[in-house]
C-alpha cells in the first residue's frame, strides 16, 4: 500500500476529505458549480479541479490544500452573516460555462 504522509498513524484516520465537501459552502457564494472549477497551485504548479483538493473541515473554517504539495489553496470562513473566502494558493480559477 502506498504511503500517504497525511495519514495519521496516531488515530488510524485521515484528517481530510476532498473538495466535493466545498460544493455546498461555496455554492452560497458562486452561481456555478465550484467543484469542477480548475485551479493551479502557486506553490508547485500542479493543476486540478477544486474537487481534488484535500479539505480539512474539522477546523474553525474550511481549509483546502493542494493534493500534491499540501500548500494552502483556499480558506473559507462563514459567520452567521458573512463569508470570508481566501484563494491565495491558486493562480486563477477556470469555470466551464454554457453559451
Amino acid at each position: 500500500m502506498a504511503h500517504h504522509p497525511d495519514h495519521d498513524p496516531g488515530t488510524g484516520q485521515y484528517a481530510y476529505e476532498d473538495g466535493n465537501a466545498l460544493a455546498g459552502p461555496l455554492s452560497e457564494i458562486l452561481t456555478v458549480d465550484p467543484t469542477s472549477a480548475l485551479g493551479r497551485c502557486t506553490g508547485c504548479g500542479s493543476r486540478w479541479p477544486l474537487a481534488h483538493l484535500h479539505v480539512y473541515a474539522q477546523a474553525p473554517g474550511y481549509v483546502g490544500r493542494c493534493p500534491d504539495c499540501d500548500q494552502v489553496i483556499l480558506r473559507l470562513v462563514r459567520s452567521p452573516d458573512k463569508a470570508w473566502l481566501d484563494l491565495r494558493g491558486t493562480v486563477a480559477l477556470t469555470f466551464r460555462l454554457g453559451p
Binding site: 496516531g10 481530510y16 480539512y56 477546523a59 494552502v72
Partner: protein
C-alpha cells in the same frame, strides 16, 4: 473522535440560530451539562475533539526547537532538553473552542511563558506565534504573560499526543482555543499587530470567549 456516516461532513462551525429556523422535533444536539458556567454560545463536551487545518506534523523531540525572536532580530532558543530543564507548572484550565465546545478542568504540564520571556528585552506589544506545519496566530504580548500562558508538553498525565499538538503546544486558555497553537516552534515579537492564519480569514484578532469575539467585528 467519532467516526463518519455516509459522507456526513460536519460543518464544524455549529451555530446558534434564532428567528426563522425550522426546529426538528426531538433533535437535541449536544447534551448540555450546566454544572459549569459556560461562555455565551458554548456547550460542554467531555471528549477532546481534534481540530486541524492541515496534516499533523511529525516533530521529533531531538530536532525540536522553540525560538523567540524580538523586533530587533535578537533570538532566544530552547531545545527539548533545555525546555525540560526549566521549572514547570501543572495548570488545570477550561478550554473554549470557537466551534462552540468547551471542556472543563483539563490538566496540563508546561513551562510558563513568564519563565521563557523573563530575559527577553523587547518593546513589542504583539506576538505572532508560529507552528511546525505553517500555522500562525496572533495575540497581544501581555496575554502571554502574568501566568496566563504556557508551552505545554503533557496533558492528562501523558506526553502530549501529536494530534493535540505534541511534542509541545502553546496553551492560552483565557482565549478561544485557536490561539493555543499546536506544534509551536516560535514566537515573533512585533511592534505592530499582524494577523495569523484564521485572523486573516475572518476570525477575531483577540478572541475572548466571554465576550464571544468569534469573528471580525464581534
Amino acid at each position: 473522535m467519532r467516526h463518519v456516516v455516509n459522507n456526513g461532513k460536519e460543518c464544524t462551525f455549529g451555530e446558534r440560530r434564532h428567528g426563522m429556523a425550522i426546529v426538528s422535533r426531538g433533535f437535541r444536539g449536544r447534551p448540555g451539562d450546566t454544572h459549569h458556567k459556560l461562555p455565551p454560545g458554548q456547550y460542554e463536551t467531555t471528549d477532546f475533539p481534534v481540530l486541524s487545518a492541515g496534516p499533523t506534523p511529525r516533530v521529533d523531540r531531538d530536532g525540536w526547537e522553540l525560538t523567540v525572536r524580538t523586533e530587533t532580530g535578537a533570538r532566544h532558543s530552547w531545545n527539548w532538553a533545555q525546555l525540560m530543564a526549566l521549572p514547570s507548572q501543572t495548570p488545570t484550565v477550561d478550554l473554549h473552542c470557537v466551534t462552540k465546545w468547551s471542556k472543563f478542568a483539563t490538566e496540563w504540564q508546561g513551562v510558563s511563558l513568564d519563565v521563557l520571556l523573563e530575559d527577553v528585552e523587547t518593546a513589542a506589544e504583539f506576538a505572532l506565534v508560529h507552528s511546525y506545519g505553517g500555522y500562525t496566530t496572533n495575540l497581544p504580548l501581555e496575554d502571554l504573560l502574568d501566568g496566563q500562558a504556557w508551552i505545554a508538553y503533557r496533558h492528562d498525565g501523558e506526553d502530549l499526543a501529536p494530534e493535540h499538538g505534541g511534542p509541545a503546544r502553546l496553551l492560552v486558555p483565557h482565549l478561544y482555543l485557536w490561539k493555543s497553537a499546536k506544534w509551536v516552534r516560535g514566537i515573533q515579537l512585533l511592534l505592530e499587530d499582524e494577523p495569523g492564519f484564521w485572523e486573516s480569514a475572518g476570525y477575531h484578532d483577540y478572541g475572548d470567549p466571554w465576550r464571544e469575539q468569534r469573528y471580525q467585528g464581534d
